[in-house]
């Protein structure tokens, strides 16, 4: 059965995490990110921990190869803190992880919680020196009187050890909660965005950062919108975008001014005022913005849809895809149970032809831009036999429910897929349910 992209057929590959239904809060996955080659896959959780998986590629040139991601490193990135001045807890939850492009043998990533960004170095050690003059092999110091000759220690192979160490801590620059981090294409700077401000950092300098966007009103009573996400352009190091809770995206050029409060472009879809309801603004809030790999488009995710924008056209998106339109008639309950505020992310595939985003009931959706096809798939333990092909799912909005369809009222709104990631080159995807990480692979690949 042909899916999006013609021949794409998604199969189960792996699932990580505990099977039991009793989910500890610390185990809730809060971010998923591939590195630039796709060899490494990082996850962050509510307990402040980062787990990195590495792809073991066997027989990559053979058709139908199975790539397995195995644990490479895990460390505690952030700890809970207490803000003494405000008497507020600062959660250790990892909001975002962003990999730096690899420059040498070590890998680097930025991980952030609500207030502090950290640069972590992940390095391998597979050799250790043996044959010290002053120390025994177990570390005890020798009696110097017993040493009669001198030798040069030799590097001997040892079991691979992967070490993670914090190299920089970028703290105290955000009054509000950090929602985004984005590494610049210049490989020297990065931005961090909170609800009202965006700061520009140099990767080497931790005691200073430049404020480049500030939308805090003089009088907080006049606050009408907040920043929800921000990202640097993949090639133009002077360009970045930020999205708002009102459904707008602003593109800024850092060459224009030191403070980019005035946008260069404003992307906003005109709204029919007669359609406006109590929920309009809430569901128009953009939860994620991502540039396409080629840098010509950007994608935004709001509560019910995914929109593709052409950077040269501000007036409206060029494509709009409905993720779960059947929820429009459930907005009242979704407001009452706070689900209407869920922040879904979205991602592009390597050649920008397919986009993906999550939904409820552990469903996730893919939209094939070229073939104008879309599919709904499910991440569940029931479909987790090796290489089992995922069957497309269908939600019945009302009326007669066909066999194999699931009705809107049977959807589990506690099973949300907020975080998904697509391998930068291959058709391998990582989908995070509440506490499990699923890896799916295209059968043909």
């Amino acid at each position: 059965m042909a899916g999006p992209g013609g021949d794409m057929q998604w199969c189960f590959s792996q699932v990580k995490g505990a099977i039991d239904d009793d989910v500890a809060e610390a185990d809730i996955i809060s971010t998923v990110e591939f590195n630039q080659t796709g060899e490494l896959l990082a996850t962050g959780d509510k307990g402040g921990r980062v787990v990195i998986f590495q792809q073991e590629v066997e027989n990559k040139n053979q058709p139908q190869f199975r790539s397995e991601y195995n644990v490479y490193s895990t460390f505690q990135s952030h700890e809970p803190e207490f803000d003494y001045l405000k008497s507020l807890e600062i959660e250790e939850k990892i909001n975002k992880i962003r990999w730096l492009p690899q420059k040498n043998a070590a890998q680097f990533l930025l991980s952030t919680n609500d207030k502090t960004i950290k640069l972590w170095k992940i390095s391998e050690r597979d050799r250790r020196p043996e044959g010290y003059n002053l120390k025994e092999e177990d570390g005890r110091y020798k009696d110097p009187n017993t040493i009669t000759s001198l030798r040069v220690p030799v590097l001997m192979p040892m079991d691979l050890m992967v070490e993670a160490s914090p190299r920089r801590v970028f703290a105290n620059a955000h009054t509000y909660h950090i929602n985004s981090v984005s590494v610049n294409s210049d490989n020297e700077t990065y931005l961090s965005a909170d609800d009202l401000r965006i700061n520009l950092w140099h990767l080497e300098i931790t005691d200073r950062s430049f404020n480049i966007v500030d939308i805090k009103p003089a009088n907080m009573e006049e606050l009408t919108e907040v920043i929800t996400a921000a990202e640097f352009h993949p090639h133009q190091c002077n360009t970045f975008v930020y999205s708002s809770s009102k459904g707008t995206i602003r593109l800024c050029d850092m060459r224009a001014a030191a403070l980019c409060d005035k946008h260069s472009k404003l992307f906003e879809e005109p709204e029919d005022p007669s359609n406006r309801s109590f929920f309009s603004e809430i569901i128009s809030s953009i939860s994620d913005v991502k540039f396409s790999h080629n840098g010509r488009y950007m994608m935004t995710r709001d509560y019910l849809s995914v929109k593709i924008w052409d950077l040269s056209m501000e007036s409206r998106p060029v494509e709009t895809y409905q993720v779960h339109e059947y929820l429009r008639s459930k907005l009242c309950s979704l407001y009452e149970n706070d689900c209407i505020f869920d922040k879904f992310e979205c991602c592009w595939n390597g050649n920008d032809s397919v986009v993906m985003t999550g939904s409820y009931n552990n469903f996730f959706r893919m939209f094939d831009r070229g073939h104008r096809r879309d599919v709904t798939l499910e991440a569940s333990r029931e479909n987790s036999k090796p290489m089992q092909v995922l069957k497309p799912r269908k939600v019945c909005a009302g009326g007669k429910r066909k066999k194999d369809e699931i009705s809107v009222d049977s959807l589990d709104f506690n099973k949300k897929i907020l975080h998904t990631a697509w391998h930068p080159q291959d058709n391998i995807i990582a989908v995070a349910t509440t506490n499990n990480l699923y890896i799916f692979q295209d059968k043909v690949n």
């Binding site: 990580k16 995490g17 505990a18 500890a24 610390a26 185990d27 996955i29 996850t43 959780d45 307990g47 921990r49 787990v51 644990v71 895990t74 505690q76 809970p80 207490f82 003494y84 405000k86 008497s87 507020l88 807890e89 600062i90 959660e91 609500d114 509000y176 909660h177 609800d195 009202l196 907080m220 009573e221 006049e222 606050l223 009408t224 919108e225 907040v226 809770s245 009102k246 359609n275 309801s277 109590f278 929920f279 309009s280 603004e281 809430i282 809030s285 429009r328 008639s329 459930k330 907005l331 009242c332 407001y335 009452e336 506490n435 990480l437």
Partner: protein
């Protein structure tokens, strides 16, 4: 004349019905307003945003925070050894009696 008036009423009712049919959102809004009549007219207003800006649990002070954390840690690690004698204030605790200030980091289940 009464026929005319009736005609107009039916048109208005029709418009309302059309609204409901065209916009499920408006129907949901009506439902919400019926349940919460005191709900303000401005949903995306500064109240909602300010609540969002100040997310996070507020504690009375750092002592309150540390107590709450200790209680949570005890709940999350039921495997903590119960053989230590209870320190109920009957005697002055020695350093060995006191529970460790920082419990060991639990590894993520994804890495298991």
């Amino acid at each position: 004349m009464s026929e005319e008036a009736e005609g107009t009423r039916t048109l208005e009712e029709q418009q309302e019905m059309d609204d409901k049919v065209i916009s499920p959102e408006k129907a949901e809004e009506a439902k919400l307003k019926a349940r919460y009549p005191n709900l303000g007219a401005k949903p995306g207003g500064s109240d909602l945003l300010r609540k969002r800006l100040q997310k996070g649990q507020k504690y009375f002070d750092s002592g309150d925070y540390n107590m709450a954390k200790a209680k949570m840690k005890n709940k999350q690690l039921p495997s903590a050894p119960p053989e230590k004698t209870e320190i109920t204030g009957g005697h002055i605790p020695t350093p060995q009696d006191l529970p460790q200030r920082k419990t060991s980091i639990v590894t993520s289940k994804l890495a298991g």
